[in-house]
C-alpha cells in the first residue's frame, strides 16, 4: 500500500507541479466553455445581433415601400444593384434582397391568377444559409400582407381582375367579394385595408429541467470542454507511461517487488483523481459564475463523472500499451481524441450530424458521457437516465483496460 500511495502521490505532484499542464486541464476548459456557452446560449434582446440585409428596391411601389424595415431581427439597408452582389461575395453582407421593377403591379395581378408570378431575388453568402432562410420567411409574411393590402383596394383589384382571363361567372363572384371587402374596410373603426396577415402566433417553449427554467447553454459547453480536456489528460497519462519506459524509470519500478496491478492500478487511480478534479473544478466554476445547476440527480452526475474518469484512465493505459514511442503515440492519440470529442457532440450538437453519423456516435464513449452530463444538468433527469451512460462508460473502461493489460510490453524492457 505504501508503494501504491507513493506512486499515486508522485503522479499528482508532477501534475500540479507543471503549470502548463494545470492551465491546460483547468483554465482551458473554463475559458473555452465560457466562450461556447456565451455564443450558443440565449442572450438578452439588446445583445442579439441583427442580420444585415441589403435591399435593392427597383420597384419603389406601395407594395415594396419599407421592405423589412420594421423587423427586430433584421437590419435592412438600402443599396444599389451594382454593389450588392459584390458585397455578398466579399462577405460584407450575409443576405441581399433584389425586388425588380414592376414587382408590385405583377404581384397584384398574380394574386388573382393573372400574368406570371414575379420573382424576388435573394442573394446569400453560402456560409449564412440559416440567415437566408430566416429572411425568406420574413419576406414571405411581409410580402403577403403588403400585396393583399394593395391588391384588395377596389380600383387596383378591379384593374387586376379585368386583366385576368376569368370566366364570366367567376368574374361576377369575385366582383361581389371585392364589394364586400370594400364595404368591410370602409366601415367605421375598420382595419382600413391592412392586408392579410398570418392568422396565428407561435408559442415557443424550451423544454428544460422544469417549467419556467431557462436553458443554460453553459451546462452543455462546460460538460463538453471538461470531456475534451479530460481526454487530453488521458493522452498525457499514456505518453507519460511511455516516457517512463524511455527514461529507464519503468525498469527501476519493475526491479522493485511490485505487482503489475500496483504499477498500472496506481497510474489509473491517479488519472481518475485528476479527471474528477478537472470535472469538479470546471463544474464548480460553472456553478459559481454561470449558475449551472445539477438539476437532475446528483448521484447520477457523480456516477457519470466517476465512470468517465475511469474510462479516461483506461484510455491513457491503452495509448501506453499500443504506442511504441511517445512521439509516435502522441500524433495518433491526438487524432483519435479529437475524433472522439467531435463525435461526442461536445463541439456542436450531435443532432446536426447526418443520420448515419449519429448512429456511429453511439459507439463513442464520450458521446454517452456528454449525454449523461446533459441529462443530469440542464435536462434535469433522474438517476435512471444516468444508468445507461454509466454502464457504457464502465464497459468501455473494461475493454480499454483489458486491451491495455493484454498488449502492455512488460518483458525485455
Amino acid at each position: 500500500m505504501t508503494a501504491f500511495i507513493a506512486l499515486v502521490r508522485k503522479d499528482l505532484r508532477i501534475f500540479f507541479g507543471d503549470r502548463r499542464a494545470v492551465i491546460m486541464a483547468f483554465a482551458a476548459p473554463i475559458l473555452i466553455g465560457s466562450f461556447f456557452g456565451y455564443v450558443f446560449g440565449p442572450k438578452p434582446a439588446q445583445e442579439q445581433s441583427r442580420v444585415r440585409v441589403l435591399v435593392v428596391d427597383e420597384d419603389r411601389s406601395e407594395v415594396t415601400r419599407g421592405l423589412l424595415a420594421n423587423e427586430a431581427t433584421v437590419e435592412a439597408v438600402e443599396a444599389g444593384l451594382a454593389e450588392t452582389r459584390d458585397a455578398v461575395r466579399k462577405g460584407k453582407a450575409p443576405v441581399a434582397v433584389v425586388v425588380p421593377k414592376g414587382f408590385g403591379e405583377a404581384a397584384g395581378q398574380a394574386l388573382f391568377g393573372a400574368g406570371v408570378k414575379p420573382q424576388i431575388g435573394v442573394l446569400f453568402d453560402p456560409s449564412h444559409a440559416v440567415e437566408a432562410s430566416m429572411v425568406k420567411g420574413l419576406l414571405t409574411g411581409q410580402m403577403m400582407q403588403a400585396v393583399t393590402r394593395v391588391g384588395f383596394k377596389p380600383e387596383a383589384a378591379r384593374r387586376a381582375m379585368d386583366g385576368a382571363s376569368l370566366l364570366p361567372g367567376d368574374k361576377a363572384a369575385l366582383g361581389r367579394l371585392l364589394d364586400s371587402v370594400e364595404a368591410f374596410q370602409a366601415r367605421p373603426g375598420g382595419s382600413g385595408g391592412g392586408g392579410l396577415s398570418v392568422p396565428f402566433a407561435m408559442a415557443d417553449e424550451a423544454v428544460t429541467a422544469g417549467s419556467g427554467v431557462a436553458y443554460n447553454a453553459y451546462a452543455h459547453s462546460f460538460g463538453g470542454m471538461a470531456i475534451q480536456f479530460m481526454l487530453f489528460m488521458g493522452i498525457d497519462v499514456g505518453i507519460g507511461m511511455l516516457l517512463l519506459r524511455q527514461r529507464g524509470l519503468w525498469r527501476r519500478f519493475r526491479a522493485a517487488p511490485l505487482s503489475k496491478s500496483v504499477l498500472l492500478g496506481s497510474r489509473a487511480v491517479s488519472a481518475m483523481v485528476m479527471g474528477m478534479l478537472i470535472l469538479g473544478v470546471v463544474f464548480g466554476f460553472a456553478y459559481l459564475v454561470f449558475d449551472v445547476r445539477i438539476s437532475g440527480s446528483l448521484l447520477g452526475f457523480l456516477g457519470v463523472c466517476a465512470a468517465f474518469s475511469l474510462m479516461t484512465a483506461a484510455y491513457g493505459m491503452l495509448i501506453a500499451a499500443i504506442g511504441k514511442t511517445p512521439e509516435a503515440a502522441r500524433g495518433v492519440a491526438i487524432l483519435g481524441t479529437l475524433l472522439m470529442v467531435m463525435l461526442s457532440g461536445a463541439w456542436v450538437p450531435s443532432f446536426l450530424f447526418p443520420r448515419w453519423m449519429q448512429a456511429v456516435t453511439m459507439a463513442v464513449p464520450a458521446r454517452w458521457a456528454m449525454d449523461g452530463l446533459d441529462a443530469m444538468t440542464w435536462r434535469g433527469l433522474g438517476v435512471g437516465e444516468a444508468v445507461s451512460p454509466i454502464l457504457v462508460l464502465l464497459g468501455s473502461a473494461v475493454v480499454f483496460g483489458g486491451v491495455a493489460v493484454w498488449r502492455f510490453r512488460w518483458e525485455g524492457e
Binding site: A3, A6, R247, R251, F253, A255, E413
Partner: protein
Amino acid sequence: MLVARNLYKAYGPLQAVGGVSLDAGVGQVIGLLGPNGAGKTTTIGMLAGLVTPDQGEVRIAGKPFGGDTSETKCLLGLVPQELALFDELPAGANLDLFGALYGLNGKRLAMERERVFALVGLADRAKDKVDTFSGGMKRRLNLAAALMHDPQVLLLDEPTVGVAPQSRNAIFDNLEALKAAGKTLLYTTHYMEEAARLCDRIAIMDHGKVIAEDTVSGLLRLAPVESFVVIDLAGAFGRMAELQELDGVMEVSVSGAALRVGVRGMEMVGPLLTWLAANGAVVEHVRTERPTLETVFLHLTGRTLRDA
C-alpha cells in the same frame, strides 16, 4: 551472494544472451566488460528479475526469483543505464518514492534518505529539483535511488556514461565505500580502465557469451605480449618486414614516426634496440607499456572494444 547459471535469452532470431554464468561473493565487485550489443543489459535484466530467462537460473543469497512481488527483489538494487529519475521532482522526493517502492515509510524512510544523501554527497541539494542538477550529480542521485532500501547486491548498468572525470571519480569513491561495507556489486561497462580499477574479477562478454573470466592480472596473462616497446625514431625506417621476423617480436605497428613493438618478454628490449641501431634507425626516445584489457579483448575477438 549472486549466482547465475547458464542464462539464455533470445528475442526472435537474435540470441541476446547464450549461456552466461556468473558468481559473485559478499563484498566482491564483478565487472561485465564488453562492447555495446554484447548482451550486458539483457544479462543485467535477468539478474534483476526484469527479464525471464529462456533457460538458466538466478539466485540471490540462495533464493530464486518468484514473480513480480518476490522478496528476493528487496536484496537487489538496480542502477539503470538511463538517468531514471523524475526531473520534475526534488531530489528528496525522488528518493522517498524509490524507498516507498520497497515499503519504506515514516522514520525509516527519512533515515535511509539521509544515509544515501550523505553517501553520494548531495545532502545540501535535497530540496532542489533534479532538472537543476549537473550530469554528474544526476548520476550520483541515480545511484542513491538504488540504495534507499539498503540492498545486499547492486547491479550497475554503465553508471558512468557521459560523466566528466571528476564526477566519475566521485562515483567510484561511492562504489568503493559500498564494497568496503560488504556489498556485492556487478558492474557493466565498456570502459576497461573503470573495470580494471574497481573489479575483483572481470567477465568479458561478446555476442551474448562470456568469452573469458578472471582477475585483472589473470586476464592480462591472456594477452599475447608481455610488454609494448614504443620507439620514437628520427627518420623513416624501411625494414619493417625483417623487424617483424625477429625472434621474440609478436607484433609491430607504426604511428607517425613511432614504432610500437609487442615483445614476448622484457629481455627482448635490449636486443631489439641493438638491432634497430645496426639497421640504420636513429632512436630518439624509448618507453614501455603494459598490455591492457583492450589488448586482451582484441586478442580474444579480433576487434577493439569501441569498434566492436
